[in-house]
Structure formats: structure tokens, C-alpha cells
Symmetry: C2
Subunit: 593 residues, 2 copies
């Protein structure tokens, strides 16, 4: 069922699309690359600032990783690079071992990228892609919303021109509030103006332009270029009016040139400190990237191979570590833009890398006067679309324990921090799942008159027999719920002295582990000592195989029946007493079914 | 379904059996108490030594706790007191904070008992008895076997008269091996002789006596009294021949008298250090006690109320903490003896407490010359019956992952230690369970010709349609397996371009959480974009309720069918192509069903 073969045996994806590459594909890929490049330049600078790194690190992280992904990745349109949540996690992790702005800080970010790359490659080699499945949607949703709020709050200090610190929402807000009197007016004005412009560009530009007869595609392009426009305009103003002299913080000098060749530090203490963050960053990045990739691939009936994606993202992160970058992954908005702009092969990613390389060679002197408040505004506008408060309501409708998992993740991430918040969310969601399956729904069933169907006696009008107890267990039986079944049967039996037979209908039992087999044996033993017999009905093939292999069936006091109806027919002599119970006619209680 | 009402609202069990108490019950309880007292005296002394405590602590731990349990407990025959595994865990936990034999050590044992009592009471108040369900049978079995081996190995030093230390098997064995040259001959002789005698008493005494015409009951009584005989005989020899002067270690002077009134230390550091061990001891003790209680209660069609047992064991441990004892729980062998000797009410426990009290008042001077090697032999013979190596084979037959959980628990307990070993076992068993459910069995099903039944196309001869894919998922859908289903459907769809309909048969799906709903929605969306439709069949009531409430069904591209047959009938026009496939006729592959 599962696809076999290693990523290497089935060949590099590049060899497939590379062979059929022609002029029209080249033009399509080139146009897409140009648009994505324009989008990536401000994002790269902003996410580098978010990660606490110099601006050029963002550009470097958008060159080699794109090429690495194009060679190894299985998605045709995924665009990798720095993304908001991973940059926040990088800032948090690296902030624990070095002071932002120092050389140690940048070196630690390289080490983190190298570790994350190694983790991803290892997971790919061991085919551990499934580990990401344990990050449930509510946990992911709560984590991303909390991260977006934390990121936006963290930009407040840059938008207000104050100094503030902290990695949790209460810390950040308290720190900003304490500095309220020293807000820098010009910085605030630039920040507010840019934020307002970018919000308007998101929703207002397209309709305004199309109303004036601009084609939808061009209007879209203009809207996408709005962040670039904001950067050009604010940089020009900042340079012309010498805002730096007026106390506005600017990007400052960025070294122009190729990405440097860098090597992560070999320092055991540093590696230990960053190991856990690297694992979390790898898993979060992988989940984000694969879900983007799958969504885009499905539209073309293509397929993402998760274990190959691990290898590709691992290579992308290792290349980031070797070329002055920081942890990267596949981003949602840039991948969608890439796909919508018409990219047809991963070559578009290589062309984008070329575009960013040109920018880092030629444009960096021009970015010297770029106000940091502009970048902060770019970040705030970008991440607030990630904060999905509607998911709270939707998840509430989907299920209470899912909602609880979301809320716990959201709050613990905001209040305790990103790493512990995420870990707490995963553990809570697992605990809630186990708790749910540890209390299986067990229904006493009776025959629906005139049929061979058996339904819950509390919900339906059924026929039952006083000497025969029919129970349906709606869960696989395993250690966490096996004793529950014991308790349940003990309780019923102690109330009904006239019982002779207990029949378990196993149609919903997909598995029976050792503890459950022991429990069934204990139930059987106790029933036998009380003069009763235990029977099973509708046992599935693999469960039957297990019970046979373990010898359970040899010792069972009763029999195994193919259908529950056959069991009841065989165990209740003709003419024996039967009771007709009228179940609650309206099944308004959700507890019974 | 679950029994409602707090333990207090339903009244003390004592009030029930106390009212009907009469002379014949008194005699039966008294006889049972006499036999259990004879059995408990050597056990109490031995387990105190095992816990690293003075001998009298064992006697004290067998007085007040028995009375507390008799008042609060729901089992009529359970006998509480010091038991082997809990004594080992006590020694390990207390050994980390104090040196055995010191006053601090005994005080820490009191604190541990108080904490354990508090944990049990809290669990009882919050009705958290279900927590114990997460200790699976293979983990319990591996843990108890490893503990028995550790306990027996730990007694080697006493049996050989050498000094040795360590809490893991390699440490203990290395330590004993290093002392090999200084083995004390007399100690070894006493130890070996007592061990041999006790082993013989276990199996040889009864047949030898019954062959000579002694009644089975009396022979049984003599066999049970063998440990007392060993103690009397070796104490007499030790006293008469002054073995202490010859270098044999003896119990030494035990203060005669009532149990002292003791108060646990109020020391935050001590409490922190003992908190985790207290939780583990509480859970292990609870599981052991409840499973003994349930086995004995079932024989009389009585019932154990697990949450009430938590309260009773909590009271027992608190009383142990207040009267110079150490952590206690319900023991298997003594409870069986109590039941078989004819105990009819918990009053037998109160009488036993009286017996042990008399012993601690009158017998202690006589125990002064009791050789420690005799006690060590008592322990070895008692615990080796706990080591259940047959469980390894049985669990292997019950299932591979159960076997893995047992083996991991066994080895990590032996090699790393009791607390980490147990915690590792629990985590591994949970991880294996989650791993199993994260890879659900998904079968493509087809109609068995001439029926309305749908079975696995790989196992059975079936009829399928090229435009319709029927999948049966044999697991509840939740976050850990939802993406697996996505991958599976993506893979099949990318191989079969002629597909128009995908129908999921949900008869074995007991729950669908938020992540799985999102996955189904993503699957639906992708199929729709590829020109296909997703349908469901045989959806259970509560799952249907969830899907309705969350709005999933409103957006579903296809329909929900009552039966899978109806779905296939409705979606394949009469006369459309169909394929008859011959499945593997012999279902020799266990992978498919």
C-alpha cells in the first residue's frame, strides 16, 4: 500500500522535468520568478530582522536553499526561504545562547540551520515523515495564531522606536508599556503610515485599479508589488530627508556581494542547547511546507512524497547553513504566488534565486537608508493574516477536545513561549485522544423487532432477553480501555443476577492488544466462576487471527458467532422470556446511539 | 453507565458489613486473621529490611494501615501492608535523599508514605482511578519481573555476608562480584539452608504431609507457617550458638511497644525529590491492589469500586506515615491466604492488625538474634514467584508490539532503575499504541459476487468498477492517521486517471476529530479539483452528529449513503463496465483482510 523504494532509487525529480524543458516553459518559469523575486526581497529582509539577524542573512537564505530544493524537492511550485513562524522560533532558540546583533548570534543561527537540516535528512533517511502527523490541526492552528500574535507584538517596539524585550506576550507588552513615554514620533509616523498603506494594498488596490479599467492580472501584480513600493518610497524619503539623523532606525550598511561560505560552529554545548529547538523547527517547517505542497500539487493531480520532501528541506537548510543564512522552509504565500504566476517547473525557483542574488550584488547599497519601521510594518501585515481566530469557532464546532487542544496550545505559546507551547499542545492533544479512547462507548444492544439488526436499547425499541446481555464496544480494545470494559461488565453483572450469557458484539473492534486479551480472559474467568458464559460475535479477521494465535479462543467459555443475530438465536431457547423495551424515541441525547 | 456518587455519599462500607456482624462471622474472621498474622510477621520484617528500614517499621506498617483499609476499603478480603515491589521502590526513592539506616532515612520513608497517601486521596477525590489503566499488562509484567530480579539480586549481599550497593542489576552484580573473596561462610550456610528449606516448603511440604494422612487443610497451614518455622529455628540456633559473635549479622534490638506517633518532615526540597516517586508508587500500588481485589471479589460476584479503593489506600498510607511505617498496598499472596482461610469481612484485617500489634509488644525481644540472612532468604523465595518469565512467551503470542513494550520495560528497569524503567515502559507502550493507530489498515473493497457484502479485493473474489474506488478504513480517524488517509487516496488517484467517485466505507470509524475532518475536506477539495466526487457510507450515529455540527456535510461534494451497497448501486449506472478480480484465494497474508 505504502510507496516503496528510497528517494534516490526513484531518481532525482530534476531529471524528469529537466529532460522535457523547452522555451515556453522557460518563459513561464521566468515570469513567475520575477514576480516571486519582487515579493521575496522585502520578506527576506523583514524575516531576517525578525530572527534578530542582519538584513543580508535574509537575502542569503533565499538563494542557495531555493536551488537545493529545486534539485531535490517533489513539488513543482513550492518556494522555500525564510518564513515568519520559523524565523520567530529561530529568534527564540538563538536568543537563549547569544545576544541578537552579535557575531555569535549569527553563528548560532547557522548552527541551528545545520542541525535542522541534519534532523530533516535523518528523518528522510529513516522515512520518519509520519512523525509530523502527530502535530494535529488544532495544535498547528493554535500555534501559528499564537506565533503571529507574538511576532506582531514583537514588532511594536520597532514601530514605536522604543527598546523592549521578552519572548512571551506578557513580557513583551509589559516591556513596551514601560517605555511608553519614550515613543519616537517620526518612527511611529513611518510605521503607522506603512502599515496602513500595506493593509489598503491588500484589499483596496485591486478593486480600485480594476474599476479604472486595469486588467485583473496587472492589478494583482501591482498589489503584490505594494511592499516593494513601500520600501522604495520610505527608503527614498529616509535618504532624502536624512531621517537617520532625526533618530529613525535604518537597516544600515549591508555588505554587497555573493553569499559567503560559512561553516557552523562545532561546539558541543551549543549543539545540545539547540538540539530540541532544531527538532521542533524541523517538524513545524516540514508540516507547513508539506501541507502547502500537497494543496498545490492536488490541483494538478500531482503528488508530494513526504519522505522526499524531508530530504529536500534538509538539503535546503544545510545549504542555508553553509551560505550565511538561517532555517528555511516552504512558505505559503510565495508558493501560491509562484503557482498563480504560472511557474511550471522547479526551474522557477532557480531563477528566483538568481534574482535575489542579483539584488544582493547590486541593490544592497540602496537599502542602507531603509527604515526598520517599514520592515516591521511589512511583518505585521504579513503575519496578521496568519492569525486565524475564525479557527477557534470552527474547531469548537468540530469537537470540544479539539478546541481544548487549540486553546491550550494558543495560550501556552503566548504565555510560556513557542517551544514549550508547541510541546504542551502536542502532549495535550495526545493525552486527550488517549483519554477519549480510554472511555469507549459501550452500548447494551437489543434486536430491533422484525429485523436481524441490533441497536442501542436506550435509543431504539428493542427486544432483549433477561438471561442474555448483548454489549457493543465502539472502540478497539487496548490497555487504556480494557479495564473499563471489565468494570462495566462487573457492574452490569452485579445488578442482574438472572444473567447466563454475555455476548460482545465486536464489529467496531479493530484491534485487541495483550492487556485487552488478558482483560477478556479475566472477564471470562469471572463470569465462569459466577456460572455465566462469555461469547463474541462479528469478530474481524485480524482480531480473530490474534485471538487464535494467543490461545485465547481455546480457553473461552463460550463461542464465537459470525453474526450477533446468530449468537442470540443460538443462546435463547425458543419460547424463552423476552422483554420489549421502548427506547427514548427521540434520540436527543448525544450520549447514546 | 459509570457509577455515579462520591465514595462518601454512598456511605462507609464498614456500616454495611458491620450491621450484620455475628458470632459465626467473628470466628471465621478470627481464624483467617491468625493465619495471616503468622504469614505477615516474617514478611513485615523482611520487607522493612528490603526498604532499608529498621525491622519494627515493617511491623508498624502492618497495624494502622490494615485498620484504615478495613474502614474505607471496598474489598472484603484484601490484606494491605508492606509488599515487595513497593518496598523496593521505597528503598530506591528514599536512598536518593538519605543513607539507609539513619534517622533521616526512616523520616524520608514516612514522608514518602504521606505523599503517596496524599496522591492516592487526591486521585480518589478527583476520580482519577482511570489513570492506572495506562499501565498496560505487558508493562506491569515486565516491571514486576524486573523488580523481582532486582530484589533477589539485592539480597545476594545479605546472603553472602558482604557489603554491596547499587540500584541497577549491573551495579549490584559488579559490586557483589568485587566482594567475592570476602564471603562469610556461616552467613552463606544459613542463607543457603533457609532458602532451600523455604523452596522445599513451597512445593514439598504439602504432598509429604498428605501422603502421611494429614488433612489437606492442615498440610496447607503447615506449609504457610514454614517461614515462621524458619525464623524460629534460625533465631534459636543463632541465639544458642551466639552466631552474632561469629560475625553473622542479626536483626538486633527492636524497641518493644505500640507503634510511635510520627509526623512526616515538612521540607520543600525533600517533598520535591520524593514527589515523582510518590506518584509512581501510588499508581503501581493501586494497580497491584485493585487487580488483586477484583480477582477475589469476582469469585463472590462482589464488586471493587476503584475510586473508593484510592481513598482507602490513601488512608492506609497516611496512617502508615503517622505510625512509623512506610508505603503499603494490597498484597497478592496475603489476600489470597486471607480469602482461602475463610475471612468474611474486613474485620479480619482489624484482627490481623491486633495480632501484629501483640507481636510488636511481646515478640520483639525474641527477634533480636534473628539472622538477616534468614530474612533475605524469605525475600528471595517470595519474590522469585513474582518473576514471570512465562509471560514473555505468552505476550509474544499476543502481539509483537506488546512484547516490545514488555521487553523495554524489563530491560530499562533492570539496567537504568525502577522509576525510569517504569516511566520508559509507559511511554513506549503509549507510543507503540499511537504508532499502530497512526497507520490504519485501509482496504480497497469490492462486492462479493451474488451478495451485498463488500470485502478486501486482495483477499476475496470481488466485482469492482474502474470509475469507482471503494475504501474501507479500519480505524477511528484522528490527527495521527488523517494525513495517512490523504496520502493513500492521493497515491491511488494519481495511478487511476479514470476514477470518478471515491466512497469511504466508515463502518469501523468510531470517531472523526477536527484534523480528520479537515483532512476529509482537503481530500474532497482535491478530488473535486480533479473532477472527482467523495462519498461516505455506513457512517455511525455520533460521527454523523459531529460531521453535521461542524458543517462538513454541507460542503461535501458527494453524498452519505446508509449502506455501501446503496452507494455503489447509485454511483454505477446499469451496464457500466465492471471488473471481476480473483483475490488471493488462500488468505495466507495476515496483512490483508
Amino acid at each position: 500500500m505504502r510507496s516503496a523504494g528510497s528517494p534516490l532509487r526513484s531518481g532525482l525529480p530534476m531529471l524528469q522535468w529537466g529532460r522535457a524543458y523547452d522555451r515556453s516553459t522557460f518563459i513561464d518559469d521566468g515570469v513567475a520568478a520575477l514576480i516571486v523575486t519582487l515579493m521575496l526581497i522585502p520578506q527576506s529582509l523583514a524575516y531576517a530582522m525578525l530572527a534578530g539577524l542582519p538584513a543580508q542573512a535574509g537575502l542569503y537564505a533565499s538563494i542557495a536553499p531555493l536551488i537545493a530544493y529545486a534539485v531535490f524537492g517533489s513539488s513543482r511550485v513550492l518556494a522555500v526561504g525564510p518564513v515568519a513562524v520559523i524565523s520567530l522560533m529561530t529568534a527564540t532558540a538563538v536568543g537563549t545562547v547569544a545576544v541578537p546583533g552579535t557575531a555569535e548570534h549569527a553563528a548560532a543561527a547557522l548552527t541551528l540551520a545545520a542541525l535542522s537540516g541534519a534532523v530533516l535528512l535523518l528523518m528522510g533517511a529513516l522515512r520518519l515523515g509520519f512523525v509530523a502527523h502527530f502535530l494535529s490541526h488544532p495544535v498547528t492552528s493554535g500555534f501559528i495564531t499564537a506565533s503571529a500574535i507574538l511576532i506582531a507584538a514583537g514588532q511594536l517596539k520597532t514601530l514605536l522606536g522604543v527598546k523592549a524585550e521578552g519572548h512571551t506576550l506578557p513580557q513583551i507588552l509589559a516591556s513596551v508599556a514601560a517605555q511608553w513615554s519614550s515613543v519616537h514620533g517620526l518612527t511611529l509616523a513611518v510605521g503607522v503610515a506603512t502599515t496602513a498603506f500595506l493593509f489598503w494594498a491588500r484589499s483596496g488596490v485591486r478593486p480600485a485599479l480594476t474599476r479604472r479599467g486595469v486588467s485583473a492580472r496587472s492589478a494583482d501584480l501591482v498589489a503584490k508589488a505594494a511592499p516593494v513600493g513601500a520600501i522604495v518610497l520610505s527608503t527614498a524619503l529616509s535618504w532624502g530627508l536624512d531621517w537617520q539623523a532625526a533618530g529613525l532606525k535604518v537597516v544600515g550598511s549591508i555588505p554587497a556581494g555573493m553569499p559567503p561560505l560559512t561553516l557552523p560552529h562545532w561546539d558541543a554545548d551549543l549543539w545540545r542547547a539547540l538540539a530540541m529547538p532544531a527538532v521542533l523547527i524541523s517538524i513545524v517547517g516540514f508540516v507547513e511546507s508539506v501541507s502547502v505542497g500537497q494543496t498545490l500539487a492536488a490541483r494538478r493531480r500531482e503528488r508530494i512524497e513526504p519522505n522526499r520532501e524531508l530530504v529536500a528541506l534538509g538539503a535546503a537548510n544545510l545549504s542555508a547553513a553553509l551560505t550565511g543564512g538561517f532555517p528555511v522552509t516552504g512558505g505559503f504565500s510565495r508558493s501560491v504566488v509562484n503557482a498563480e504566476a504560472g511557474a511550471r517547473t522547479p526551474a522557477a525557483g532557480i531563477f528566483t534565486a538568481g534574482g535575489i542574488l542579483l539584488a544582493s550584488l547590486l541593490l544592497t547599497p540602496a537599502l542602507r537608508a531603509l527604515p526598520l519601521a517599514t520592515l516591521a510594518a511589512t511583518i505585521v501585515v504579513a503575519v496578521l493574516s496568519l492569525a486565524d481566530l475564525g479557527a477557534l469557532k470552527h474547531t469548537w464546532q468540530q469537537g470540544r477536545s479539539d478546541f481544548a487542544a487549540l486553546l491550550v496550545t494558543l495560550l501556552s505559546t503566548l504565555v510560556i513561549g513557542v517551544e514549550i507551547g508547541l510541546a504542551t499542545g502536542v502532549l495535550v492533544s495526545l493525552a486527550l485522544h488517549l483519554l477519549r479512547t480510554s472511555r469507549p462507548h459501550i452500548a447494551e444492544v437489543g434486536r430491533v423487532p422484525g429485523t436481524e439488526h441490533f441497536r442501542n436499547v436506550l435509543r431504539h425499541e428493542t427486544v432483549t432477553h433477561p438471561q442474555l446481555l448483548s454489549l457493543r464496544v465502539d472502540e478497539s480494545l487496548y490497555f487504556a480501555n480494557a479495564r473499563n470494559l471489565e468494570d462495566h461488565i462487573n457492574a452490569v453483572v452485579s445488578r442482574r443476577p438472572e444473567l447466563v450469557h454475555v455476548v460482545l458484539q465486536c464489529s467496531a473492534v479493530n484491534d485487541i492488544d495483550a492487556s485487552a486479551q488478558d482483560s477478556l480472559q479475566a472477564i471470562d474467568q469471572r463470569l465462569r466462576e459466577g456460572g455465566m458464559t462469555l461469547h463474541l460475535s462479528e469478530v474481524k479477521g485480524p482480531v480473530m487471527d490474534r485471538l487464535t494465535r494467543s490461545g485465547f479462543l481455546k480457553h473461552l467459555s463460550g463461542r464465537v458467532f459470525l453474526t450477533h443475530h446468530q449468537a442470540v438465536e443460538a443462546l435463547t431457547p425458543v419460547g424463552s422470556a423476552s422483554t420489549q423495551t421502548a427506547g427514548a424515541s427521540a434520540p436527543d441525547s448525544l450520549q447514546t446511539h
